[in-house]
Subunit: 485 residues, 2 copies
Amino acid sequence: TFTNHVTQRVLNVDTMNPNVKRIEYAVRGPVVQRAVQIEKELKEGVKKSFTEVIKANIGDAHAMGQKPITFFRQVIALCVYPDLLEDKFPEDAKNRARRILQACGGGSLGAYSASSGIEVIRQDVAKYIEKRDSGIPSNPDDIYLSTGASDAIVTMLKLLTAGEGKTRTGVMIPIPQYPLYSAALAELAAVQISYYLDEDKCWSLDVGELRRAVKAAREHCNPRALCIINPGNPTGQVQNRQCIEDVIRFAAEEHLFLMADEVYQDNVYMEGCQFHSFKKVLFEMGPEYSSVVELASFHSTSKCYMGECGFRGGYMEVINMDPEVKLHLTKLVSVRLCPSIPGQALLDLVVNPPQPDEPSYATFIKERTANLHILSEKAKMTEQVLNTVPGIHCNPVQGAMYTFPRLTLPEKAINAAKEQEQAPDMFYCMKLLEEMGICLVPGSGFGQRDGTYHFRMTILPATEKLKIVLEKIREFHKRFTEEFS
Amino acid sequence: TFTNHVTQRVLNVDTMNPNVKRIEYAVRGPVVQRAVQIEKELKEGVKKSFTEVIKANIGDAHAMGQKPITFFRQVIALCVYPDLLEDKFPEDAKNRARRILQACGGGSLGAYSASSGIEVIRQDVAKYIEKRDSGIPSNPDDIYLSTGASDAIVTMLKLLTAGEGKTRTGVMIPIPQYPLYSAALAELAAVQISYYLDEDKCWSLDVGELRRAVKAAREHCNPRALCIINPGNPTGQVQNRQCIEDVIRFAAEEHLFLMADEVYQDNVYMEGCQFHSFKKVLFEMGPEYSSVVELASFHSTSKCYMGECGFRGGYMEVINMDPEVKLHLTKLVSVRLCPSIPGQALLDLVVNPPQPDEPSYATFIKERTANLHILSEKAKMTEQVLNTVPGIHCNPVQGAMYTFPRLTLPEKAINAAKEQEQAPDMFYCMKLLEEMGICLVPGSGFGQRDGTYHFRMTILPATEKLKIVLEKIREFHKRFTEEFS
């Protein structure tokens, strides 16, 4: 081919990293980009049948009006500007701030920390895990603080990726999945091994399906890791203890490294459901498993009752990791120096919140309870309203922050979408956005069984707004079905 | 080979990502790890000939006692805990905080931003660049906020990496270099093309050497990018305008993407030296170059007069980037959601500091000037004292935060190091640490001409402490030379 150095760029779509080209990330994909455009049009005075775009595409609680936890913000403000320690703040907030600052280089949030995070905070994380897991020990040396959970998940996938062709690392991920996983695997050129959650059984995980998937994958790659998202994103299910045991047994049998994405561990709404950490279940299964199965579990400041996404705080705990690999992991995270110190400080407050004998306790509990209660109400309301719409089937939102309902779409709509070279649920979500100003993410962005269609919607809009969203979806779905019948 | 699933881990040094294994990162390497151990030993009461370890291994100003800029911290505290807007704070700090909060989702630092950063802040960055570059226009759509500069540098290298074997992307980096570059290239399995800075000419960059390096590299890879660090890390030189023009012309001729690491742009100490941005020089060279040469330049909140490393704020500006590649870049950064919002907010203050008519101006200028003045004094003192030591040769510290002096080591010391399978300057730095409690980084971690030996030392310790450091190095070097003579 003719190469003209003057007009052709060094970096163009033909010469760029092909792995990056293959990445897809629907949570901020075309629908969201169009939503941002529409917002600008509205601002410029363009007339629409709605006056604002309601974004239910991303688990961003504060953007949807949830208020920060007062204690958390007080402590961070004190850390940022220690002159405030002379001002009127609760004593426990001041003590917490002093303790964090003492652990910072030069007593400032502006210093780098150790690459795996501030030691005191890693100790607090370990204590938090021990308490959560009924006393099963946690070692601060197994804790790596991170920039949100995403950072740690990508780091683990990076460590695990090796080999070429048939020996290339394969990683099992649920379908539907949170697209960070498929994006990271595409970037690393690792092999994605899809296992399907059972929509008819409330998106539960079936070990038979894991077996099918791993067996098929062994034909063409080297399956080395199994990713679990519990509570589920985008599917909202909460795994029961038995299921987790089965998964751990499966991982041991098939010699797979377990990655447990547990960032929604406080977001369990449904009666009878309970969060069980993989770590706890693993250790309760006895040394036959707990001394062998390799596990990394992930947590974040972005979800649960606090929703502090913007601080990019998180951690992972690694269990049974090879000590030499840990040295390489520490070296790998060193290259990026350290996670944001305000994010680390915020994580410290999440794992070490006010205690019953401290002055901020009552307010803290009130705020936390209220946030979780409202989420729980909205989870129920979402399921109830969507299930009244003919052509929408919605599993209970047992946990997390999303619903992933199935859509029955008329044949004509599916054909119309194909004509526009769009996935049918992308076509649906785009029309919903244009006509109603509701921004959702098409199910195709998360993966789904062929011939089924879904969208992901967060339950985060304020109650009154959520009612409007659900009402508009009902109205739109009826009209859409009629239009294409 | 026999595989025992019960005892052999899924993830071990034989099965882990071989690219990660190859990474080296000396700034937090063995010397620093030993320094941390020694600190623990001192705490536990182990007797040494020193009472504290002085760390001059990393550009971490606050850890070395530099105080944060008051205005910056006031505004961030107001953003973190907006109740403080009712309190006594300067009006300009309050206005700045309100403006930032208004640009945040739900008016909270806890919301995600657009993946390329908050729009208002990207606009402020563009204005800052325009002002810095004497009015040459900057487009907010070319600005991507990042998690420190490291994040953006790795992202650009990732985009540029493609091909296999002889067509694999090669990236030119200076030797000595900041090891982020070699680490990122190792991780991406891109080819490192070393070009040597001229120590005898004050670490200046010679285009003849660039030509030699690229010509040799074309035999075995596809050179596609040229990285420049100016002011230099670890070498402390400041490039003159002529040199930058020559580099740009070379990049145009050789069809290379330019990456300009300009995080030390305010750190210029030497009379007659001045910072010239690559962007400005490129545009002053006229459309023949400015419409063709692809450039990414990087900046950070971590260095200069503020030294806010812990906030992990930064940005890059991309010039002449292919519009389709920009879409892929935006998608790529979306997967990690967004840079830390406190870091973005801090960056906003760096690019939009108090103005002469604002109440915080006087204090701000006083603090900034003092910080830069002290750095300048320390740069001079470091050069002067080290050059009084026979066997140490130190170029002037024209800018940045480091000196990279050359060591004359006795043959016996070199042999002793080889016996321990250590690089001679690693051997030297380890002994210096054990005997004196001074933590530096061996030159071998940055790259150097074969047969030469160096260390990198920051000029950041407080003046009185820096005097001690320099005095101890003098004493140690004398003793070391005698011991091995």
